[in-house]
Chain length 336, copies 2
Amino acid sequence: MSNTILYALTDVEWQTFFPGKMRDEVTGLAENAVVVDPLSFDAETWEQQLSETKPDILVACWKTPALPENLQKLTDGKLQYVCYLSGSVRKLLTAEHIDDGLTVTNWGNSISRTVAECGLMLGIACMRRASYWTIGMHRANAWKTPETITGSLFERRIGLHGFGSISRELVKLLQPFDTQISTYSPRVPDALLEEFNVSRADTLESLFADNDIIFELAALTPENTGIVTEELLRSIPEGGAFINIGRGAVVDEEALARVAADGKIQVGLDVYGKEPLPKDSPFRQNDAVMTLPHLSGPTTDRRQDCGRLAIQNIKAYQNGGELESVVTVSVYQRAS
Amino acid sequence: MSNTILYALTDVEWQTFFPGKMRDEVTGLAENAVVVDPLSFDAETWEQQLSETKPDILVACWKTPALPENLQKLTDGKLQYVCYLSGSVRKLLTAEHIDDGLTVTNWGNSISRTVAECGLMLGIACMRRASYWTIGMHRANAWKTPETITGSLFERRIGLHGFGSISRELVKLLQPFDTQISTYSPRVPDALLEEFNVSRADTLESLFADNDIIFELAALTPENTGIVTEELLRSIPEGGAFINIGRGAVVDEEALARVAADGKIQVGLDVYGKEPLPKDSPFRQNDAVMTLPHLSGPTTDRRQDCGRLAIQNIKAYQNGGELESVVTVSVYQRAS
């Protein structure tokens, strides 16, 4: 067992990631638990703290100050594992820290189900034109007419671009809707698709043209940047929808704005190539586009799922077990 | 087998209730199928049509003209069954027609899953503050801050006021969310609750106070009118939500508007005591209230579910079987 764990978390981080008895549970994992408030440090006092505590494990989150370059020297090489409660560790540490042997984990897949939930909501909301209606009812006295068109997810053809952890959670949420689900994800093994009862689309073109509702969940790699072109977007059948809960830059967003303006498909977005979404974005001008400010996951009330993963990882680290959601150098470099 | 079926449907009604091969399927049920466009009739020519056709069964929808008082005389007592594709038959016929022995069915429970879907969407959307965000992003350049609070349905306590067909469909949709579901529905048998793994709340007070998200689905009966009081609404735990996909008049809506304005709970509404929702409704003034113009069910694309039920009922009628969703006099009088 590692002896000393340094917890550098704010009150809000404690309350949301380790609510209730979870705080005792995670501090109980240390023989010597050192709890500090990161808001009380500047860079210099933070180095002093690290040097004095010489923790084996650091539990860190959004407000934890950046780790110094000479981390190993400061801690006499003791600090081997940083358990980061949130997502991107870019503000906390460098790829060199990882290269030098530091083990780092983050919230990994523990947020996936909340992202999937957001996607499900955007999918239903788009088929109902919920953005159009709630804006119109609040700003223009709108009400339905006999000609009002609405749609549902029931018995629809669903296309998932990408088949990572969020897509797999989305498949679970779609289960009661009696949908037919396909995915385009070239490297995913057949066995995994069979396990989830999901069909393989052989091309991105067929994924878009042969499904009603497309969920964008492809990883943002160099080859995926801008891969969703105007032609693909225009191939989605009329009455369908395009939902992005992955990464904005995967999509040609100028084209997406044009396609949305034509109104043949509905569009729901939580992510954008540039965030915060610029004031002059065409998505802000089109009431039919359902927009959220990148808050798909985790929701505040489910940060505890990340805390639960952290506890599991600290235990595994102490027992020489396998860690989940390890931030390798390549994961680090892909993170936004 | 009944020989003559009169189908008084518009082109749009044919296309949406009996798409594709379903049109042949339903007209194939008649030995003598008479298809007329109700838009081509006035009251007098409609009476002539009924008198000339003397149908055994009438398949009717929104645009079918009202049935005359002297229906039985006009059709020599032949017309015994009206298969209405939509909901309320109040514009088509009177309670006296039913009292005189006319059998009437409507879309009944075939729309329930789409209403449940709308409720699920409003529930997730409320926990995400989706109305606030989509209005704010479109009208006020809004973006999240580090203090932004969001919520999820996962692992929440869900309260269903009423346990009819829509509630039962909602339970199915909530299944992947690992929720605990209770209902207040005094007359529902224990066996049904056990089948759906739903707990019984002994009082309406405990339903509201002991759950996070309340779905309003109680029938609009005299005793239920205004039964959801300000006190009940204020007892929903902070951070929770109140979703109405049932009937507006079950709720003290002035109280609901005050509670929504306080912002301790989120509110999502598809139904209102007065529809269309009046221009000066406080719900239109409060961007945090997610509003839809009573379009929960069925969606345009799922009208075919009502068509499917109609085919099933016509077959059952012809074979002396039991009909579903029969509009009795008491159902007629409860309908809005």
